[in-house]
C-alpha cells in the first residue's frame, strides 16, 4: 500500500520535474544552438578553418580550479599540503557535472579559505627562506635577491613564466610592506600570500593570440594547463612545462603524446572515476548512505553500498585502463568485480574475488548501467522509479531532452493518473496513465518505457522477474532520432542496441566532452571526433585523449560585448 502511495507521488513529481507536452525537445534546440554531432551520423568535418562558424568554439574564459585542483596546485607551488574539502562550499551541478567554467567562482568562503591557507604557509615558508638565504638579511636585502626568491614560487603557481612587469610588481609589494616597518620575513610572507591568492593561481586562465577577428589560438602554457587538469586534476608537470616553454604545444601530435603519457598516471584513473561518478550520478553513494527503507530492503547496508561503489570503480579501471576496452564492453560486459558479500547480496552462487572477473549468471545483466551502484542511485527509498530511470537513459545515454510541461494543474488530475488496481505493476500503471491522460502519457511513455526495461532490477539493484505475484515484462522498443532502434527484449538487450547505435556512441562522447570542456550544452560535439572514435573501434581510452585533437582544445571565440 505504502509503495503505491509513494510511487504515485513520484510520478507526479516526475511529471512536474520532467515536462509533459507530448513534444520531445532536442537538447540543441532547447538550448538555442545548432544541432551538430549528437545525431552522430554526419560526415567527419575537418578542423576549424577561416570562415567556419565560430559559435562552435568555446568562449574565452577563466576557469576556477576545483578544490582538488587547488590542493594539488598548492602543493606543487609551495611544497606544503592544505586540506580544504570541508572549507569550500560545494559547487553546484548541472546535468550532474560540477566542474563548470561558466559558474564556478570565488565567493567569500573561497576567499577566506584561500587567504587562511596562504597566510599560514607563507609565514612558515618566509621564515625558512630568510634563515637560509643570506641575501635576505635585514640590512642588505636587494630587489634582485627578492625577485630571485619569489619568482620561482609565482611561476609554479601561475604555471607559466612571468613578465618583467609582474616580477617587478611582486618586488614592489615587498618594498611597500617593508616601507610600513615590517621585517623582511613579514614582507616576504606578504608576497607569497599575494601569489597564493592571485587569480592567476586560482583560475586556469586562457591566454591566446588572435588569429583572425574574434578567434584566438591558445598559447602553449594555456594548453599545458588545460591538458594537465583535464586528465589529472593537477598542474602541468615539468615535461609539459618544458614543451610549453619551447612553444611546442601548438602541435596536436605533441599534445596527444603528452595526453597518452599522463593517462598512465594514477591521478588519471582518479579523474576518470570522477567522470563516471558524475555521469552516472553515483557520487551521492560516496557521501552518505542512500535512504533505502529497511522494511523493504533489510539486506541493504553501508557495507553493501560501499561494495557497490567499489564494484563500479574496479569495472571502470579494468575496462578503461587495464583492458583498454570499448564502449560495447562498458555497456554490455557480462562480467563484473564483486566481493563475496555483494555476490551473495545479488543472489549469485559460488564465491567471488573482487580482483578477478566474475561471470554474471544467466545473462541477467551486463555493463556499468546495470550495476548495483547505478541502479540504487536511480531509485528512491522504497521502490523502483521507471520514470526517472527512463529519463536518465533518455537524457544521458541518448542525449535527448523533454520539453517542459504545459500549464495544467496536474494535482487536480491525480485521481485520474493512478489505476484503481493497487497491485498494478509499473507497466500497468503507465498504460493506465497513457489511456486516461494521453496528452501527458504519450510523452511519458517515450522515456518511461526505457525505464520499464530496468524493472527486472529492484531499487537496490537485485534481479527479480516478478513485481508482487505478477511477471515483469522488460521488453520495449528503442526509438532513435535518425536510425533504426528496434524492439528490445530486456535491459541488457536495450543497452546492447544503444551501444551499437550512432546516437548512443555520439551521446557518450558528448558527455565526456561536456565534462572535459566544463561547458554544458555550449560546445557542440564535432562529427570528426565521433568518426575518429568509431575508427578506433570505440575504445574508451582513445576517446579520453581524442578531445585534445578538437579545435575546442586550441581555439577560443572572443565573446562579443553586449
Amino acid at each position: 500500500m505504502g509503495a503505491r502511495i509513494l510511487s504515485a507521488a513520484l510520478v507526479l513529481a516526475g511529471i512536474v520535474a520532467s515536462g509533459c507536452t507530448g513534444v520531445l525537445g532536442d537538447s540543441d534546440e532547447a538550448e538555442g544552438r545548432t544541432p551538430t554531432g549528437s545525431g552522430g551520423s554526419g560526415e567527419a568535418k575537418p578542423g576549424y578553418e577561416p570562415g567556419d562558424d565560430p559559435l562552435e568554439l568555446p568562449k574565452h574564459r577563466a576557469w576556477r580550479l576545483t578544490p582538488l585542483q587547488y590542493e594539488r596546485s598548492f602543493v606543487a607551488a609551495f611544497g606544503s599540503t592544505v586540506k580544504t574539502a570541508q572549507d569550500f562550499p560545494r559547487d553546484p551541478r548541472r546535468n550532474g557535472f560540477d566542474d563548470l567554467a561558466a559558474q564556478n567562482h570565488v565567493d567569500i568562503r573561497w576567499a577566506e579559505t584561500v587567504q587562511r591557507n596562504a597566510a599560514e604557509v607563507a609565514a612558515v615558508l618566509a621564515a625558512d627562506r630568510v634563515e637560509g638565504e643570506p641575501c635576505l638579511a635585514e640590512e642588505t636585502v636587494s630587489r634582485n635577491c627578492v625577485e630571485g626568491v619569489v619568482t620561482p614560487y609565482a611561476e609554479r603557481a601561475y604555471r607559466r613564466t612571468l613578465s618583467a612587469e609582474e616580477k617587478s610588481a611582486l618586488v614592489d609589494l615587498f618594498e611597500a610592506v617593508r616601507g610600513e616597518g615590517s621585517s623582511v620575513a613579514e614582507a616576504l610572507s606578504a608576497v607569497l600570500e599575494a601569489i597564493a591568492q592571485s587569480p592567476f593561481f586560482l583560475y586556469r586562465i586562457e591566454v591566446g593570440e588572435e588569429i583572425e577577428p574574434g578567434i584566438q589560438h591558445l598559447d602553449s602554457y594555456t594548453i599545458a594547463s588545460q591538458l594537465a587538469y583535464l586528465l589529472t586534476d593537477a598542474p602541468p608537470d615539468e615535461e609539459l612545462l618544458d614543451d610549453a616553454a619551447a612553444d611546442l604545444l601548438h602541435d596536436r601530435e605533441v599534445v596527444l603524446a603528452h595526453a597518452q603519457r599522463l593517462l598512465q598516471r594514477p591521478e588519471a584513473l582518479e579523474k576518470v572515476q570522477r567522470f563516471f561518478d558524475q555521469y552516472l550520478g553515483i557520487y551521492a553513494l560516496r557521501d552518505e548512505l542512500l535512504p533505502k527503507d529497511p522494511a523493504v530492503y533489510p539486506e541493504y547496508s553501508a557495507d553493501i553500498q560501499a561494495a557497490m561503489v567499489r564494484e563500479t570503480e574496479r569495472f571502470v579501471e579494468r575496462v578503461v585502463f587495464t583492458e583498454t576496452g570499448t564502449l560495447e564492453d562498458l555497456f554490455t560486459a557480462e562480467h563484473t568485480f564483486v566481493d563475496d558479500e555483494l555476490r551473495a547480496f545479488y543472489g549469485w552462487q559460488g564465491t567471488a574475488d573482487p580482483e578477478v572477473a566474475f561471470s554474471i549468471p544467466n545473462g541477467e545483466r551486463g555493463g556499468i548501467y546495470l550495476q548495483g551502484a547505478t541502479l540504487s542511485a536511480w531509485s528512491p527509498s522504497i521502490k523502483t522509479d521507471p520514470l526517472h530511470r527512463g529519463l536518465y537513459i533518455f537524457e544521458r545515454l541518448l542525449c535527448q531532452h523533454v520539453a517542459p510541461p504545459p500549464g495544467v494543474d496536474l494535482f487536480e488530475l491525480a485521481d485520474q493518473l493512478e489505476p484503481p488496481d493497487l497491485e498494478a505493476t509499473e507497466r500497468e500503471r503507465l498504460e493506465y496513465f497513457v489511456e486516461n491522460h494521453p496528452t501527458c502519457g504519450n510523452c511519458h511513455k517515450t522515456f518511461t518505457s526505457l525505464g520499464l526495461a530496468l524493472e527486472t532490477f529492484d531499487a537496490v539493484g537485485v534481479y527479480r522477474d516478478k513485481q508482487g505475484d505478477r511477471p515483469i515484462d522488460p521488453s520495449g522498443e528503442l526509438i532513435l532520432r535518425e536510425e533504426e532502434g528496434g524492439p528490445f527484449a530486456d535491459a541488457p538487450d536495450l543497452l546492447r542496441k544503444i551501444a551499437a547505435s550512432a546516437q548512443g556512441q555520439a551521446c557518450f562522447a558528448e558527455n565526456w566532452v561536456t565534462f572535459a570542456f566544463g561547458d554544458v550544452f555550449r560546445v557542440p560535439l564535432s562529427a570528426r571526433l565521433v568518426a575518429e572514435f568509431r575508427q578506433r573501434e570505440l575504445r574508451i581510452q582513445d576517446l579520453l585523449v581524442l578531445v585534445t585533437q578538437e579545435d575546442a582544445f586550441y581555439l577560443r571565440r572572443v565573446e562579443e560585448e553586449p
Binding site: 548541472r94 559558474q103 567569500i108 576567499a111 577566506e112
Partner: protein, 470 residues
C-alpha cells in the same frame, strides 16, 4: 565612556584609538550611520523566503485597503498589523512557459526567463541592490538536514548561472561579520602595520584581477566581479581595530551563536520532530541578519527557510512523517488517502503557514527592538502559489520600510486578468514590479528601458513598480 544611541553601545575611547586609513573610512561610515539612525537610518531590505506556497484561503486578508482582517494563518502578525502590507494576486512572470514547477524559485528574485528551468538567466534583486551599495547580500539558510544538491534552495543568484547557496553555518557567518577586534591598544602601531600589510596584499591581488578582467568577455568578467566583492568582504573582516564591536552590543548574540543547536532527533528529514532544530537555527540566523543590518555590516539580506519541494522538514507535521511539500499536494487530493487524509494534510499545510508566520513575526519584532523595522523592508516570498504549484495570484505579505516610503497597515487586492504570459496579459502585477518599488525604497534608481523603469527584461515588467506599496 560609553554612550548609547538608540540602544546601541558606543565606546568613544576605543573608537578613536589607532585608526588606519581603512579604519577611518569605516569610522566615517559608522558616524554617518549613527547620525542617520537618529533621523531615520539607511534603508535595508530582507527577502524572507519560505517554501511550498501557502493555503491561500487561510493566508492573506479580507476587507478594504485600510479596513481589513488578517486570515487565520497570519494570526501571529496581528501585533504588526499596522506595519505590514498584505498583497493578493501578484504574479511570478519570470517563466511564462512553465507555470507549475518549483523551479520558479530561480525566477522569483531574478524575473528573467531563460532556457534552463533550473538556472536563473540573470542576477537576483538582492545581488543587484547590494551591488549598488558596494556590498554582497547576506544570504543565509535554515535547513537542519543536509544541504540541497539541486536548485531547490537557489533563490539568490550572483549572475546568470551563478547561484549563491545559502550559508547554513551561523558560527562562521557571525565570525565573518563581527570579527573579534585584535586591536592592541598598547601597540597601535602594530595594528597599523598589520592593516597596511593586509591592504597591500589585497591591492596586489585586486591588481591581478583587474589585469585578468581586461582579457575576458562579459561572462568571465561577471565571475571576477564576484571575486572582487569577496575580497572587499575579506578585507573588512581582516582589518584590526574593527569598530563594529564598539558600536553594537553583540554579547547576547555571541552567546547564542556559541550555544549548540538542539540535538538531531535521528528520524526522517520530513518529520515534525526536527522542528525544534529548525526553529533554533532559524531564529539564530534571523538574529544574525538583524544585527548585521543594525550594525551597518550589510544592508541587503536573503533568508532561505529550507529548500522547496521534497527536501525540507515539515514544521506542521504530526506523527505521520510527511513532508511540507507532500501535504501541500495532498491537501487538495484524496489519491493518497490511505496514508493521510485530505483534511489532515490541509491541517498540516495550514500549520506550516502559521509556523512561518510566527517566524516572520519574530524577525519583525527583532528589527523593531533594534529600532530598524521602519528602515527595513521585509518581503515574504515563496516558490509556488499553493498546492497546484502555479505562479499566478500569489498572496504575500511585506512589512517595514515606512521611513523610506513603504505604505503599511494596508491590504491590496490586485486585479487579475487570467493567464500568466506577460506578453499577452499586460495588466497583471508582478514580482518584477515589486522589485522596482524596492529599488526606489532603497534610494536606488531602477534600470530604465525606454520610458519604463524595470527590473528584469521589460517584457516581464509592465511599469514603474507598485504605487499601492511605495
Amino acid at each position: 565612556m560609553t554612550a548609547t544611541i538608540r540602544g546601541v553601545k558606543f565606546h568613544r575611547r576605543t573608537m578613536l584609538a589607532g585608526l588606519s586609513a581603512a579604519g577611518a573610512a569605516l569610522f566615517a561610515s559608522v558616524v554617518r550611520r549613527s547620525v542617520a539612525q537618529e533621523q531615520g537610518g539607511d534603508p535595508n531590505v530582507i527577502f524572507f523566503f519560505t517554501p511550498n506556497g501557502s493555503l491561500r484561503d487561510e493566508f492573506g486578508a479580507d476587507g478594504t485597503a485600510t479596513d481589513f482582517t488578517l486570515r487565520s494563518s497570519l494570526a501571529a502578525l496581528e501585533p504588526f498589523k499596522s506595519r505590514i502590507h498584505v498583497i493578493h494576486d501578484i504574479n511570478n512572470m519570470g517563466y511564462p512557459n512553465r507555470d507549475v514547477s518549483h523551479s520558479n524559485i530561480t525566477r522569483i528574485l531574478t524575473c528573467v526567463n531563460g532556457t534552463d528551468p533550473n538556472v536563473a538567466a540573470g542576477p537576483s534583486v538582492d545581488h543587484v541592490l547590494a551591488g549598488h551599495l558596494g556590498q554582497t547580500p547576506l544570504v543565509l539558510g535554515v535547513q537542519p538536514v543536509s544541504g540541497s544538491v539541486t536548485y531547490h534552495d537557489k533563490v539568490s543568484w550572483a549572475a546568470a548561472g551563478v547561484p549563491t547557496t545559502p550559508t547554513l553555518d551561523s558560527v562562521g557567518t557571525f565570525e565573518r561579520l563581527f570579527p573579534s577586534s585584535e586591536a592592541d591598544s598598547e601597540d597601535p602601531d602594530r595594528d597599523r602595520r598589520w592593516n597596511a600589510r593586509t591592504k597591500s596584499i589585497l591591492d596586489h591581488v585586486r591588481g591581478d584581477l583587474s589585469t585578468l578582467r581586461g582579457r575576458l568577455g562579459p561572462t568571465g568578467r561577471d565571475l571576477l566581479d564576484i571575486h572582487t566583492t569577496s575580497l572587499r568582504e575579506l578585507e573588512q573582516s581582516l582589518m584590526r581595530a574593527d569598530l563594529t564591536e564598539l558600536l553594537c552590543d553583540l554579547e547576547n548574540l555571541r552567546v547564542s551563536v556559541a550555544e549548540p543547536l538542539p540535538p538531531s532527533p535521528g528520524v526522517s528529514r520530513k518529520s515534525y520532530l526536527w522542528t525544534p532544530v529548525l526553529t533554533a537555527h532559524g531564529r539564530l540566523q534571523m538574529d544574525i541578519i538583524a544585527m548585521a543590518l543594525a550594525c551597518g555590516r550589510r544592508r541587503v539580506a536573503t533568508l532561505v527557510w529550507q529548500p522547496c519541494a521534497m527536501e525540507g522538514v515539515n514544521p506542521g507535521g504530526t506523527v505521520n512523517d510527511v513532508g511540507h511539500h507532500d501535504v501541500s499536494h495532498w491537501s487538495v487530493s484524496d489519491f493518497n488517502d490511505q496514508h493521510i487524509s485530505r483534511e489532515e494534510a490541509r491541517e498540516q499545510y495550514l500549520k506550516c503557514d502559521r509556523y512561518y508566520a510566527e517566524q516572520y513575526a519574530y524577525l519583525l519584532n527583532k528589527l523593531d527592538q533594534l529600532g530598524i523595522l521602519g528602515d527595513t523592508f521585509v518581503p515574504w516570498i515563496t516558490d509556488t502559489r499553493d498546492a497546484a504549484h502555479q505562479q499566478g495570484r500569489f498572496h504575500i505579505v511585506v512589512a517595514g520600510g515606512e521611513n523610506h516610503g513603504i505604505k503599511t497597515g494596508r491590504f491590496t487586492q490586485y486585479a487579475y486578468s487570467g493567464g500568466n504570459d506577460p506578453k499577452k496579459v499586460l495588466t497583471n502585477r508582478s514580482f518584477a514590479d515589486l522589485w522596482v518599488s524596492t529599488h526606489k525604497m532603497m534610494g536606488i534608481e531602477p534600470e530604465r528601458v525606454g520610458d519604463k523603469e524595470v527590473f528584469g527584461p521589460p517584457e516581464y515588467c509592465h511599469g514603474a513598480g507598485l504605487e499601492e506599496v511605495y
